[in-house]
C-alpha cells in the first residue's frame, strides 16, 4: 500500500485543519483499511479520529431526539439497552451486519460511509454484470448496473428519518441519511454527497422515531446463515392504534445504491388494518419501477417477498429479546407462511 502519513488530532478544529487533498478520515478502519489493501483507495494522509473528544456518547437531546456520536462503536450502540429498546430494528440491523469483531471496531459514522462493493474494484475494465448479479441494484439507477449500498444499519436509519451532522471548512450542516448516498458517475465518483474534507460529527434520530418501538423489525435474506451481505433486506415499523396502522415506515436494503424508502407504500398503509392483503399491496408498490439488471429479475421478486415478510413481522410485534440470529429468516420465522 502507498505510504501515508499518520496524524492524530485531538480536536475537531485540528482535524479539519489537517485535511488536505488525498487525505482520508480513519475511524475504526474496517472498511478503509480493506480498501487500501486492495488499492481501491490510496490516501496520502490518514487522519485518525479516535482521540477526538465528545464523539463517543449516546444522548437524548432536549427536543427528544437521540444523538449518537460518530465514534460510537457498532456493537456498543446495538448493545446499549436504552437505544435497543427505543430503536429495536436499528439494533437488529447492526447485529446482522458483518461479524462481531468488525462491529467491535467499526464506528457508526464509518458504517454509514461504507463503500459499495463493486466487483470491478479489483481490476480493470470488467463487465459490471460479472459474477453475482444478486448484489446489483434494481432500483434507483435507471437500469444502469450499479452496486447496492451494503450497509444494514442505514436501512432502518432511513426508515426512521435519521440525519447526519456534518462539519466542514464552511461550518456545520445536517444531511438526512436518505440523501447521503448517491450512485457514482463517470464525472463524479463519490458514493456519498459529502464533499471532501467534511466530517461526520454525529447521527441523530428524530423524537418521533422511538414511537415505533413496539412494531419494528429488520429482515435480511442472505446466502449464508450468518456473516454475509444482504441479497435483499427490509426495515419495517409501524404504530398501531386501535387495531389500525396510524403510521408505517418501510425501507428496502440491498436493492439500490442507497437505502430505498417507499413513501407510497407508507401512505397506503396509513389507516389500514394490518393484514396480508394490504401488506402485499404495499410490498408490490415498494418495487414499483424496479428494473432487472443482468438477469436478476428474481431479485425484484425476492425484494417484494422480503418487504411483505418484514411488514408482517413488524405487525406481529417486536420480540421481547433480540433473536439469536438477528434479522434472520431462521431466527424470526412466522407460524403460518403467507404462500405455500
Amino acid at each position: 500500500m502507498r505510504p501515508f502519513d499518520f496524524v492524530r488530532p485531538t480536536s475537531v478544529d485540528e482535524a479539519l485543519a489537517a485535511w488536505e487533498d488525498g487525505a482520508a478520515w480513519l475511524g475504526g478502519g474496517t472498511n478503509l483499511v480493506d480498501l487500501m489493501k486492495t488499492g481501491a483507495v490510496a490516501p496520502t494522509r490518514l487522519i485518525d479520529l479516535s482521540r477526538l473528544p465528545g464523539m463517543r456518547g449516546i444522548e437524548v437531546l432536549a427536543d427528544g431526539s437521540t444523538r449518537i456520536g460518530a465514534l460510537v462503536g457498532n456493537s456498543e450502540l446495538a448493545n446499549d439497552p436504552d437505544f435497543a429498546g427505543n430503536f429495536p430494528m436499528v439494533a437488529e440491523a447492526i447485529l446482522s451486519g458483518a461479524s462481531g469483531q468488525i462491529r467491535n471496531a467499526a464506528t457508526v459514522a464509518g458504517n454509514v460511509m461504507q463503500h459499495p462493493r463493486e466487483a470491478w474494484f479489483h481490476g480493470p475494465a470488467s463487465d459490471p454484470l460479472a459474477g453475482d448479479t444478486g448484489k446489483l441494484a434494481v432500483l434507483g439507477t435507471d437500469g444502469a448496473p450499479a452496486a447496492v449500498n451494503p450497509s444494514d444499519f442505514c436501512v432502518p436509519l432511513v426508515a426512521l428519518g435519521a440525519v447526519v451532522e456534518i462539519v466542514g471548512p464552511d461550518g456545520t450542516r445536517d444531511i438526512p441519511v436518505a440523501d447521503l448516498h448517491r450512485m457514482p458517475t463517470a464525472d463524479d465518483p463519490r458514493h456519498t454527497t459529502l464533499t471532501p474534507g467534511e466530517l461526520i460529527l454525529a447521527l441523530r434520530l428524530p423524537p418521533e422515531a422511538a414511537g415505533f418501538a413496539a412494531h419494528s423489525r429488520y429482515l435480511k435474506v442472505r446466502d449464508r446463515t450468518s456473516f454475509a451481505f444482504a441479497l435483499t433486506s427490509a426495515a419495517a415499523c409501524m404504530r398501531i392504534e386501535d387495531g389500525k396502522i396510524a403510521e408505517a415506515r418501510l425501507t428496502l436494503g440491498a436493492v439500490a445504491p442507497r437505502p430505498w424508502r417507499v413513501a407510497e407504500a407508507e401512505d397506503l398503509l396509513k389507516g389500514q388494518t394490518p393484514g396480508p392483503e394490504v401488506f402485499a399491496t404495499a410490498a408490490e408498490l415498494a418495487l414499483d419501477g424496479a428494473r432487472a439488471v443482468g438477469g436478476n429479475d428474481w431479485k425484484i421478486d425476492l425484494a417484494r417477498r422480503t418487504a411483505l415478510r418484514a411488514l408482517d413481522m413488524a405487525a406481529a410485534g417486536t420480540p421481547a429479546e433480540m433473536p439469536a440470529l438477528p434479522a434472520s429468516v431462521f431466527g424470526t420465522q412466522r407460524k403460518e407462511p403467507a404462500h405455500a
Binding site: M1, R2, P3, F4, D5, F6, L26, G29, T30, V33, D34, K37, T38, T44, R45, L46, D48, S50, S75, S99, G100, Q101, I102, N104, A105, T225, S226, F227, A324, L325, P326
Partner: protein, 164 residues
C-alpha cells in the same frame, strides 16, 4: 512520509518498543516486530478471523488495524492465554474437545471466545453460534469449537479454579 514511527505496543502486559511505518498492520507488527507469530493471517481483509486478538478487551481483526492505531491499548494475543505452563481452561477444552485440526484458525477462535466470554458471560448457545460465525475454519466441522467454548463458559460460571 515513509518514515517509521516509534511506538510502544502493550501486548499481554509487556511493552514492546518498536519502530514501524504507519502502513504496517497491527497483525504484521505483532508477528514481525514483537515476535508473536501465534496470531495468524488467513485472508488479510477482515473476513476469516485467524488474526483475531483482543484490544482493550474486545475481539478485533488485527489485519484491519494499523499498528500505530493500537498504541496505548491493552493488546492480548494467543501467547498470553496460558499462565506459564498452565493452559487456560479454554485452551484445555480446545484440546480435549478436539476443537482444532490444522490449528491455523485456532488462535483466532481462542481469542474471539476468550474476549466474548469475558464481555458476555451470560451468552446463550445460539448467540455463541452467531458470534463464532465470525471466524472461518476449513477443517473441523465447527461443532467441537462450540462445545469447547460452552465448556469454558460453564467452567467460568462454576469455578474460579483452573481446568485440570
Amino acid at each position: 512520509m515513509t518514515d517509521k514511527t516509534k511506538i510502544t505496543l502493550t501486548v499481554n502486559g509487556t511493552g514492546h518498543a518498536i519502530d514501524v511505518a504507519p502502513r504496517k498492520t497491527l497483525a504484521d507488527a505483532l508477528r514481525e516486530d514483537c515476535g508473536l507469530t501465534g496470531t495468524h493471517l488467513g485472508c488479510e481483509h477482515g473476513v476469516c478471523g485467524a488474526c483475531t486478538i483482543t484490544v482493550d478487551g474486545a475481539p478485533v481483526r488485527s489485519c484491519l488495524m494499523f499498528a500505530v492505531q493500537a498504541e496505548g491499548a491493552d493488546i492480548r494475543t494467543v501467547e498470553g492465554l496460558a499462565n506459564g505452563p498452565d493452559l487456560s481452561p479454554l485452551q484445555q477444552f480446545f484440546i480435549e474437545e478436539h476443537a482444532l485440526q490444522c490449528g491455523f484458525c485456532t488462535p483466532g477462535f481462542l481469542m474471539l471466545i476468550d474476549g466474548t466470554l469475558k464481555q458476555s458471560p451470560d451468552i446463550t448457545d445460539d448467540e455463541l453460534t452467531e458470534i463464532l460465525s465470525s471466524n472461518l475454519c476449513r477443517c473441523t466441522g465447527y461443532r467441537n469449537i462450540i462445545r469447547a467454548a460452552r465448556r469454558a463458559l460453564d467452567h467460568a460460571r462454576t469455578t474460579t479454579e483452573p481446568a485440570a
